[in-house]
Symmetry: C2
Subunit: 303 residues, 2 copies
């Protein structure tokens, strides 16, 4: 079994868990962590003891896959830097629709030119949820799928709420109310002198929140509310052939960054060992290609 | 969009639903139904009005995919007849483990030689459940998965019970009792003079039932108990990276032959349009390859 040499790019929320997931993989070794600055805080220095920290992948020797753990907005610029060097990339770009398709198209061309593979949006939604939605469509092509998120923190909504004047820190919880409809419970730590009513109005009129039932509460400390647990309930009721009322339900309760980084690591395996050059989203990848072990063993024990 | 020409081989439980699933697919047309005899019962004649019924695929003109809807034991002999003619096959071979691997290996070699694709065990277990088990392993590589079946009829167990002396007809219900353990509730219609105690003993000592809690009941009519509804509850609790207690649950309640044949039809699309010659089980296929529609639309709306 070939040992894959992995680089973790960025050491934030996802990067920290990605290091753990690489270290737990039987067929991978961590070449190192790539950051803009190799200077570490005391806590980071403790967590990364014995791990190579560099500012450029060229300093890590041969690398098979770069796990891009920086923010979503950084991915379109970061991924090509690796793909053009023939290093496969996996990201968890978390915007659906047009922007995702654009990213996939751009990286597809770059990968094909340089013999490298990009797995785009390898997280849980987009990601494993997308793969499941595709599978459920194959099982019951007509009908409705509802994806219900939470309860759990939404990073995007939290950052948006925090950006409002008078807000020192914020946390937006996504609460599922069924049929894919969500309530936003927004907790804010106010600056001295800021008024909750004004802050709440600013949050509610933002495009991020305007379409959902949004409730805003002042709390003394956001830090004390933080919990990276999250969840999904996906429901489909549909038609197989001409037979109605086929029902499906998928539920999970998970640590969000731990699951995201584990999925990235599993997709890295497909990128390095199975996929032809180009870019892929998760429903475009066979799940068995994400697993270690030989095909005979996997077919005999898993299928 | 290319219209795929489909043949349905066998017109039993699965074949009947396969005809409906092909007719419901936007990108397929039914070339015809292949049977050992083209003679039809009055009911069959009514259901198959306007459909070509033949005894050999050569009588149907060009055919892209043959859906093999005969019994599992017939598949190893039937599939090569089509693959050697360059016609892709999809079956729902329902035995796990060694025999499945043997079939996949044999058909893989034949497919590669003749430029055709075989999708093996395209049902729900083995099948879509297998694909899910692989995905859950990619999401949480360490831990336990339990697949709980039912309540629903087990064809294999029913046939076994029916084969015992003194049994005119039988139905074995699979009842999930949790953690992948099942109770077998067996209903038998006795021949005149047969004794329930003896019949029950014969059933319970058969290898099919010997390892499960099996209860046998005499009923006046098996026909009045028949319902092709079935269900699954798959549960996994495991570890992503080094984070424990990640929990996942998949549940479905479905018409068994309708789901099986729909999955076969969806896999036929992957066989005809996406996969390289050879044989595949479902976890070896990307779910998006099972769907109609162009990639851009699918990525934008589904991922």
């Amino acid at each position: 079994m070939k040992t894959l040499r992995m680089a973790v790019v960025g050491y934030g929320n996802i990067g920290r868990y990605a290091v753990e997931a690489v270290q737990a993989a039987p067929d991978m070794e961590l070449a190192g962590v790539i950051r803009r600055s190799a200077k570490l805080s005391p806590e980071e220095a403790k967590n990364l003891a014995g791990i190579e920290i560099v500012t450029d992948v060229g300093m890590l020797g041969q690398v098979d896959v770069a796990l891009l753990c920086g923010p979503t907005r950084s991915i379109p610029e970061t991924a090509p830097q690796y793909l053009t060097r023939g290093i496969h990339t996996v990201d968890s770009f978390d915007i659906h629709g047009e922007k995702l398709w654009q990213l996939r198209s751009t990286l597809d061309a770059i990968g094909k030119e340089h013999g490298s593979v990009a797995v785009v949006s390898a997280g849980w939604d987009p990601g494993s949820d997308s793969l499941l939605r595709a599978l459920l469509l194959a099982m019951a092509p007509k009908g409705l799928t509802y994806t219900n998120f939470g309860p759990g923190m939404s990073m995007g909504h939290s950052v948006c709420a925090k950006s409002k004047p008078g807000v020192r820190d914020a946390l937006s919880m996504t609460i599922p109310t069924g049929t894919g409809v969500h309530r936003r419970m927004v907790y804010v730590e106010l600056e001295p002198g800021a008024e909750l009513a004004q802050v709440a109005a600013a949050i509610k009129e933002d495009e991020y929140f305007a379409h959902d039932d949004t409730r805003v509460f002042a709390v003394p400390s956001i830090d004390e509310l933080k919990d990276v647990g999250h969840g999904v309930l996906m429901e489909r009721k549909g038609v197989s052939g001409s037979t109605h009322n086929q029902t499906f339900e998928f539920r999970m309760s998970i640590n969000n960054p731990a699951l995201t980084s584990q999925i990235m690591v599993s997709c890295a395996r497909a990128a390095a060992l199975r996929l032809a050059p180009g870019a892929y989203t998760m429903p475009e990848i066979a799940p068995m290609d994400m697993l270690p072990g030989d095909r005979e063993m996997l077919v005999k024990t898993l299928v």
